[in-house]
Amino acid sequence: MKNKTWNPYLAGALVGILLVLSVIVAGKYLGASTTFARAASVIEKSVGIDYSQFEYFTTKKGKYGPGSLPNWQLMYVIGIAIGAFAAARFSGTFKAETVPPMWKKKFGSSRIKRGVVAFTGGALGLIGARLAGGCPTGHGLSGLSQLSVSGFIALACFAIGAVITAKLLYRDRRG
């Protein structure tokens, strides 16, 4: 099996071409975070919570409400999982893993500890992404490719928040 990974610069160029093709063919810029907010409204609706009490799910003609799914972006997010799974299987690099090795080395092998922190991170990430109006794909890739002011500010703040947090998480505690 060929396990050699692709050069990140070339892979990045391919992603750039994919973005441009997507805009030409489907008129769609890449982005992912809104899907999770929309899916939350679908879940609320299906378990009987009155989602319409929340302005966010009804604003802009229900752009973020349950009626917005299924849409291009939901299928895109599902596609990412399928594409990654297929590539991992074909290349023999698929491996089920509950706790990442780097995490394990620092914080131990508890799946619950890792799960709680991952859940918290996901929740904060989505709240932040919706407040900022996008994630590293929507603001970073699509936004910077369009030279959007919002993209420059958002990507800089994503990086500042993430780098500081990662440094604090993995700081050397001996001192």
């Binding site: 992912a32 929340f54 590539a87 030279l147 993430a162």
Partner: protein, 174 residues
């Protein structure tokens, strides 16, 4: 048809990212700890190619831009909160789907967290709209617009800046 395009685009995106080996927690957090820049190399390279392609096809009238509204309050506060979450989870929203596909089951916890975060955001949205998003709200503006220069000048400058970063990454073997 739009659904099929979305699925195909996602599959290609997931395939490229998996083959470039950047879907693991180690690669993602390695970039955030500034010890392995592969994730940033890929992203910045995509931005250069994307910007050139987007503005080329925009200039010849094939595509439209779709700028996100600028809100300094929203992007600074939301960006910093997102950053904290990104480092805790180790995967951003699009990457988490790919990471799960590659077998990183912890990404699933993150995705449940994102659904919860989406529900929480709907609750706090009126407050955010009134007090945070309203700060420095300038609408859909691009850097060339506010600088008053041609977009190709900004693209060349951005490309040079990113290439300098690439040279630094390679020199420091990051």
């Amino acid at each position: 048809m739009s659904l099929i395009f979305g699925l195909i685009t996602g599959i290609l995106f997931g395939f490229i990212l998996q083959r470039s080996g950047i879907l693991s927690y180690e690669k993602q957090v390695g970039a955030l700890r500034l010890i392995d820049m592969a994730v940033f190399k890929l992203m910045l390279s995509a931005i250069i190619v994307g910007a050139i392609g987007i503005y080329f096809f925009y200039d010849i009238g094939v595509i439209k831009l779709s700028l996100k509204a600028t809100s300094v309050g929203g992007q600074v506060a939301g960006g910093l909160i997102f950053g904290v979450g990104w480092a805790l989870l180790g995967y951003c929203p699009g990457i988490s789907a790919g990471a799960l596909g590659e077998g990183h089951i912890d990404a699933l916890w993150g995705m449940f967290g994102m659904l919860f975060g989406g529900a929480v955001y709907a609750v706090i949205y009126p407050f955010m709209k009134k007090y945070i998003i309203s700060i420095g709200s300038y609408g859909k503006i691009s850097l060339p617009q506010i600088l008053g220069v041609n977009h190709w000048i900004v693209i060349v400058a951005l490309t040079i800046l990113i290439l300098v970063m690439f040279i630094v990454f390679e020199k420091k073997r990051l």
